[in-house]
């Protein structure tokens, strides 16, 4: 899990059929959910199912995360961790996270890794930013453990906490998104945008994902496999960008060949950030799958 992870797909942890098919949709990371998509009566069954699905899912070429229940709700989060410890995923997602809870989780993961003989701090944490307090403390949460590989914005809970309406335009989460983009960039971790709730509104998702990318978010979570391609496209350079990046790289190579210190394209001087952008753009385009 890093800033190159663009598509993350939530899969209900209590659905064997969906768990079986989860790897086929091309998401960079699967999030096996034990929280919102699982009813209280199904929690036990879901965590056992997820534990058994994990070893196979981890062989399917995508990263696998588990969203546990919050530590603040009864003992659910801890019970999830007890079961998941038997077959740990690549990433744990912690809802309604605080700095202290991330540190508790990190301690639990230390023990699990020791017990199972796994590499230290190999299991990463993605705290979910879902409250006004968490938005204010975002930087502290991001820095609370070396395991934190990114932050995920939970807009539904956040707007509920704020007491404002969630809209298609998304002005109500503009500040949270912008802050998350900056905090995560500064920390070198992934800034993952909130899921788009209306699975039938492809145009809305397109707008939402492009907005998130424009603000500096590095990826976006999906709640339906049909959202993956739209999100991937939004976070993948388009043909024009790719062509421009390729021209920058070939101009750079030519300048290097001719031992020229100054780089120019179409009469404009190009500096180091432009070259870095071009390299990043081509790398992203290469990784993006068409099908």
């Amino acid at each position: 899990m890093d800033r190159s992870t663009t598509t993350l797909l939530f899969i209900p942890g209590n659905s064997p059929g969906m768990l079986k098919n989860a790897p086929v949709f091309g998401a960079d990371c699967l999030i096996l959910d034990l929280e919102d998509s699982v009813t209280p009566a199904e929690k036990d069954a879901a965590r056992i199912l997820v534990r058994h699905a994990l070893p196979w899912l981890k062989t399917q070429g995508t990263e696998v995360a588990v969203r546990i229940n919050p530590f603040s709700e009864a003992f659910l989060g801890y019970e999830d961790m007890e079961e998941i410890a038997l077959s740990p995923p690549d990433v744990i997602m912690l809802p309604k996270a605080t700095k202290e809870e991330v540190q508790i989780l990190s301690g639990l993961l230390d023990e699990i890794e020791k017990k199972k003989g796994l590499a230290e701090t190999g299991i990463k944490i993605i705290p979910l930013v879902e409250t006004a307090a968490a938005v204010v403390n975002m930087r502290e949460i991001a820095g609370s453990s070396g395991r934190v590989a990114g932050l995920l914005l939970g807009a539904e809970d956040l707007t509920a906490d704020l007491g404002v309406k969630r809209t298609r335009r998304g002005l109500e989460i503009l500040y949270a998104r912008s802050k998350m983009a900056m905090v995560c960039k500064a920390a070198g971790i992934a800034a993952i945008d909130t899921p788009f709730a209306d699975i039938r509104d492809e145009a809305g998702l397109h707008y939402d994902a492009h907005t998130a990318r424009a603000l500096g978010m590095t990826g976006k979570a999906a709640i339906h496999p049909g959202q993956i391609n739209v999100i991937r496209k939004a976070f993948t350079p388009d043909e024009e960008e790719i062509a421009y990046a390729a021209r920058i790289i070939s101009a750079m190579e030519e300048a290097e060949k001719e031992s020229r210190g100054v780089l120019a394209l179409d009469g404009r001087m190009l500096d180091a950030p432009a070259v870095a952008w071009a390299k990043q753009t081509l790398e992203k385009a290469k990784r993006a799958t068409t099908w």
Binding site: K20, N21, P23, V24, F25, W56, H224, P225, G226, T289, T290, W291
Partner: protein, 514 residues
């Protein structure tokens, strides 16, 4: 007689009791150069009324006797009542030992099981069988094996006189007093009349059964008076609502959409999706989704296709009306939009089943197909496809046009989920071979695409397009990783169905479940 291994690698007896000597399948593209068409003795009628008051009277006039072969078409699909009413009447009439030559059998034909139990019906020749009749045949209800043909194979065998029909009973949504029929008018309009064309032309006697007697002449004429001996008017021939085949809505199942997107990618990468493109796809959510992706692509790239064929749905009608195809060849209407289009649009062309797919005529349309999109219950590592039995060995389908279109199309693509109902779809050996692997070019699943090694040309095109190509063996391993290797189905010795390839050779047999 000794068993033989046919060209599909299946061991079959040289002689089958109740069927006769076996011509083993020798390969899909081994064709004869000449074929004979059967002679028909015609009962001349230059003016007598053809209208009869009852089915019993029709039996009487046709000289229907024990042991004869009577035929039916399935354009009303699961809404058909004609086969049931004729057989009920045959039972009352005291007939025994009849052979049914039905182009397809559906769950609505469940009463046929009773007629089989009571010996009214002892033989069955069909191209598709689903529901209680399939289960009963699988359990050995018939003494002699059922014969499963392809759509094209059925037309061929009737024309060749191999399948001799004594009396053809033809359900007609509209019929005039001289026997001119069409499927376009009346309360049970089902559209094109393709399957009964060969029956009408080659049966010894032809009886039209209609619930809509129209003044002379019926217009248009799909099957003409020159072939029809008698007409019986009945209160209802069935329920045209039953023609809707499978689902007529594009799937919203994400796995189905993924498969469809990949299949559309295969078609694009094949290089065939250019002006003049022709294709066929079945109904069903995933197939409709493939057509939908193709439609978008053709619009975006301003491609004008030649024809689409089917199994016509409203979606193909839309593509015709949008100018994406010059015409539709229609062998069966799958929804009411298709019927409406057939009525009004001169570019929506009805065709007979022989024109559609007969391998021994002077040219079938399947040979002009660029791309065919097919389904599968099982596919084996030799690319053989089973759409005849389920994974438990019960008859639940049949070739229909599967083998015909696979043989004719330049690229035959099977689309299927890799695992269905916890059974792997890609297996070492299929339970029954419906369509030989040599005619299947590509298998598309949600977890990867396998290309038949015979098609090295396609393989490189698909790889160049970045499609997720794997070997058929890798697909099998992926499936088994999820399901384990299922136990083999246990069959007894008795053969319950003989599967004929389109040329009449035997490609496989299905044995009784033990």
């Amino acid at each position: 007689m000794m068993n033989v291994i046919n060209a599909a690698g299946r061991e079959i007896p040289g002689y089958i009791e109740g069927y006769g000597p076996v011509k083993p399948f020798g390969g899909a593209r081994v064709g004869t150069k000449e074929a004979l068409r059967s002679e028909v003795k015609v009962k001349i009628n230059q003016g007598r009324s053809k209208l009869l008051p009852s089915l019993a009277e029709a039996f009487e006039q046709c000289g229907l006797q024990d042991g004869m072969t009577i035929s039916f078409h399935h354009h009303l699909r699961n809404g058909d009542q004609v086969m049931n009413m004729v057989l009920d009447e045959a039972a009352r009439y005291g007939l025994k030992n009849l052979k049914i030559a039905a182009s397809a059998v559906f769950p609505v034909h469940a009463p046929l099981v009773r007629h089989m139990e009571q010996g009214v019906v002892t033989g069955l020749v069909t191209s598709y069988i689903s529901g209680p009749v399939g289960e009963a045949v699988s359990r050995g209800i018939l003494e002699r094996p059922a014969v499963m043909q392809t759509h094209g194979g059925r037309a061929r065998s009737i024309e060749a006189g191999e399948l001799k029909i004594d009396v053809a009973f033809i359900a007609a949504p509209a019929c005039d007093p001289c026997g001119n029929m069409n499927g376009l008018e009346g309360p049970n309009a089902f559209g094109v009349m393709a399957y009964p064309v060969a029956d009408a032309m080659y049966a010894s006697r032809v009886v039209a059964i209609t619930d809509n007697l129209v003044p002379y002449p019926a217009c248009p004429v799909e099957i003409s008076q020159e072939y029809v001996d008698y007409i019986v008017q009945v209160p209802s021939i069935g329920d045209a609502g039953g023609i809707v085949s499978g689902t007529t809505r594009i799937t919203n199942n994400p796995v189905g959409l993924k498969i469809a997107r990949l299949a559309a990618g295969v078609i694009q990468a094949s290089g065939l999706l250019t002006d003049g493109f022709s294709f066929q796809t079945g109904a069903g959510g995933t197939s409709l989704a493939v057509a939908s992706f193709i439609r978008d692509y053709m619009k975006r790239h301003n491609i004008k296709g030649s024809f689409a064929m089917g199994g016509i749905t409203g979606q193909l009608v839309d593509m015709l009306e949008e100018g994406l195809f010059r015409c539709l060849f229609d062998a069966q209407c799958f929804d009411l939009r298709a019927i409406e289009s057939l009525r009004k649009n001169k570019s929506h062309l009805p065709i007979s089943t022989s024109m559609y797919a007969n391998p021994h005529n002077k040219g079938a349309v399947v040979n002009m197909l660029d791309v065919m999109v097919l389904g599968a219950t099982e596919v084996d590592t030799d690319f053989n496809v089973n759409v005849t039995t389920d994974s438990n060995g019960i008859l639940m389908g049949g070739s229909g046009g599967h083998s015909d279109t696979a043989a004719g199309a330049k690229v035959a693509i099977v689309v299927t989920e890799l695992v269905k109902r916890r059974f792997p779809v890609v297996v070492d050996g299929v339970t029954a071979v419906t369509t030989p692997g040599e005619t299947i070019d590509v298998v598309v699943t949600e977890r990867g695409i396998a290309v038949n090694p015979r098609r090295a040309d396609l393989l490189s095109k698909l790889k160049d397009a970045g499609l997720p190509v794997v070997s058929i063996f890798e697909l099998k391993e992926m499936a088994e990783e999820m399901t384990g290797v299922p136990d083999k189905v246990c069959f007894g010795d008795k053969i319950v169905a003989v599967l004929e390839y389109r040329d009449g050779t035997v490609i496989d047999v299905v044995r009784v479940l033990s």
